[in-house]
Symmetry: C2
Subunit: 446 residues, 2 copies
Amino acid sequence: MTSGVDLAGQSHQRASVLLRRWLAETHTPVSEGPLRLTVGPLRLGTDVLYRSPTGAHGFGAIHVLDEAGDPAAIADPALLAAACSADARARALPDAPINAAEAGSLVDWVLHALPRHRLDPLPLTDDLVAVARSVSDAAEAQRWLVANVEGRLLPAALGWEGDRAAATTELLTRGPLAVIGLLGRRGVVHEEDLLAELRKRLRGVAEAHPTAGWLVEHWLTSPTLTDLAALNGSDLRYRDGSGQVEVRPVPFEVPNPLWEGAAEAPGVPLPELGDGWSLRPVRVVGDDGGPDVALVHRWMNTEHVAVNWNQAWPREQWRAELAGQLGGQHSLPCVVGRDGRDLGYLELYRVQRDKLARCYPHDPHDLGVHIALGEPDAVGRGLGSALLRAVARGLLEADPACLRVVAEPNVHNGASVGAFGKAGFRRSGEVGLPNKNSALMVFARE
Amino acid sequence: MTSGVDLAGQSHQRASVLLRRWLAETHTPVSEGPLRLTVGPLRLGTDVLYRSPTGAHGFGAIHVLDEAGDPAAIADPALLAAACSADARARALPDAPINAAEAGSLVDWVLHALPRHRLDPLPLTDDLVAVARSVSDAAEAQRWLVANVEGRLLPAALGWEGDRAAATTELLTRGPLAVIGLLGRRGVVHEEDLLAELRKRLRGVAEAHPTAGWLVEHWLTSPTLTDLAALNGSDLRYRDGSGQVEVRPVPFEVPNPLWEGAAEAPGVPLPELGDGWSLRPVRVVGDDGGPDVALVHRWMNTEHVAVNWNQAWPREQWRAELAGQLGGQHSLPCVVGRDGRDLGYLELYRVQRDKLARCYPHDPHDLGVHIALGEPDAVGRGLGSALLRAVARGLLEADPACLRVVAEPNVHNGASVGAFGKAGFRRSGEVGLPNKNSALMVFARE
């Protein structure tokens, strides 16, 4: 009979698996130390005791926080599963597969998994788990890694006939990268050392085997890699057609720990819009920020903007925000006008410096746009889509190295998704972010 | 900050609350020692460390069992909530309120309760909780009880204008009986001593205050009392009309710990059915039980019977079962025939000796009936309802003290519920039993 201590440990392991997945699937950045987050109806708190470059983080006790922010209870696996399911369902559209009654929920998985001693909705294969448990020092880990690259990864990559995402998932993210993470969390290796070794081996493979190069080159140069999501995707299902519990995961992108970074992207250019539009960077002047800050503050506190931006802040906070943006290379805040009248607020940004960089395989020159038509009488007249088209064209013209302009409206904001579509942006997928599921909208250079 | 040990204790307290409620609401008998049960998709195991006559049982660690019956994990409160909800939903009809999406589930309650430090979906009032926590010995408990009867229960009972169920819940089961249970589990009192004192005081009240007698008399003489269910009733809801989490309980009956038992009921009479029907007690003869045992065994292994009775046992097991019934006073197993041909199996039983005795305020002379038309060609021709009417009339005639004949078909068995209805039985409610929700069907003497 298993002891109570072991059982408590298993409960923490299960909760940690779920938290780790939630953090990855919502592209939440993690650093060591206290971590607070909101998962659906729950506020949670824990300590990140080990921060893993491959996402295999280790946590202290995971607590539900009360309204005062103090620990109220241990966040048991079933509770985390219920919170993750409530969260994922609320992020997705009502008619998404995850919201269909027959799709089940992560709680069904937990009820099914516990009597079967299962820890993870997407477990690694038994042989990889055995390696991750048995390897006892860094030298042994290196030997295993080399053998895996030569004996498994290379032959499979040479003969691969499926698509890139499936190859990446099966051969890399849920292969050696997952094992490296487990060994790192166990304290057997420094993950960065093994990642450097893997990078070196893959470069050798790419040089020696040009037919595998397309795949291996992608692994070395893409800022993100495909992994599988089990907690937070609109297309998830937890029951198959016959009602049996079976997790059907969806692909998503994680930061690539093999990537050594791209050439530094330049700052954000100010595009020419033409066609009666005017665009100027916000000016911050004087103690109160001056008239532009007053404008942005007023727009952000207008109901139709506040409901989507959630930034109905005091004027002083907006002054600081705008001054901060103007002082950096990430984002350029602008006032847009038409025929001489100021109508709204635009943020133009380099994806590489934005949270979006964790979410899709971007190019260092990709640019992004946030838009708020602040004047209520400017909304609903097709002005938004005309402006977005002018901005996208202007940005592609202003930075000849930029291949695409992107945006990430909330999937629930049908008006915004529709306006981007009308402007010529194509919906290329859905990405999870800590507070929403976004439609990734892409305006590509033709 | 709360310590880890306190939090673990709270988790066990929450899980215990849910288990205690589930046991009460499914009318499951409890004794001290190991307890194994199936709640929806989970098999659970625990030790009953304290068995309470008022249902305030105390448990050791509550485990999920694996397929081999060994502990696989601690059954956390959220997991128990998920299992109880799955169980309650499966017991109820698809169109029952508990199966409506907008009704929410017990998991919603847990997600809502934990950050608010709530332990119980139906908490006692703060003053009663304070009493249950602060009273430190038996003498103090007796003084409190007397004060409660004189100062609270009696004035409220004298002026009560609502119905009996509401009065019982508010003044008794969720009043002094609940406090007695909490003090018993704390080890401060012997519950039986306080129950004896309460009984004595209530007798005094009934004599001194004839206007409260109708209510107090019921409390002293009914085999069951009304309490509130929060986990297992078809009419439960966990969200109100606006979607806010709010448990809407349903009334149900619990065994009355004040009841001193009724006069011993006689054995089960063999009724005359008339109208071409014949009825004889099963005969068990010889090592293999003889022809009647062979008949019952064959019928029970016929698909249309097995699916409802779940007793497709080997012949030897049926021989033992039937011999056991014939040797006791609880139940009379019979073969029923028509026009000379054996058609099916009947069990006639005294409710007072059956599990049904825990579920509704029965009279000691109440009789119950289980029926299986074993011959497939006897089904679907209205024979069942004709037989049930003949049995009910025959039983009322055979025992002039019997006021009603009852049955408890599964609410999902529409054909059976319909046949009882057609025979003149009235559906008087729904009762939870460990493996099903039953429609309580009553054929009353006119």
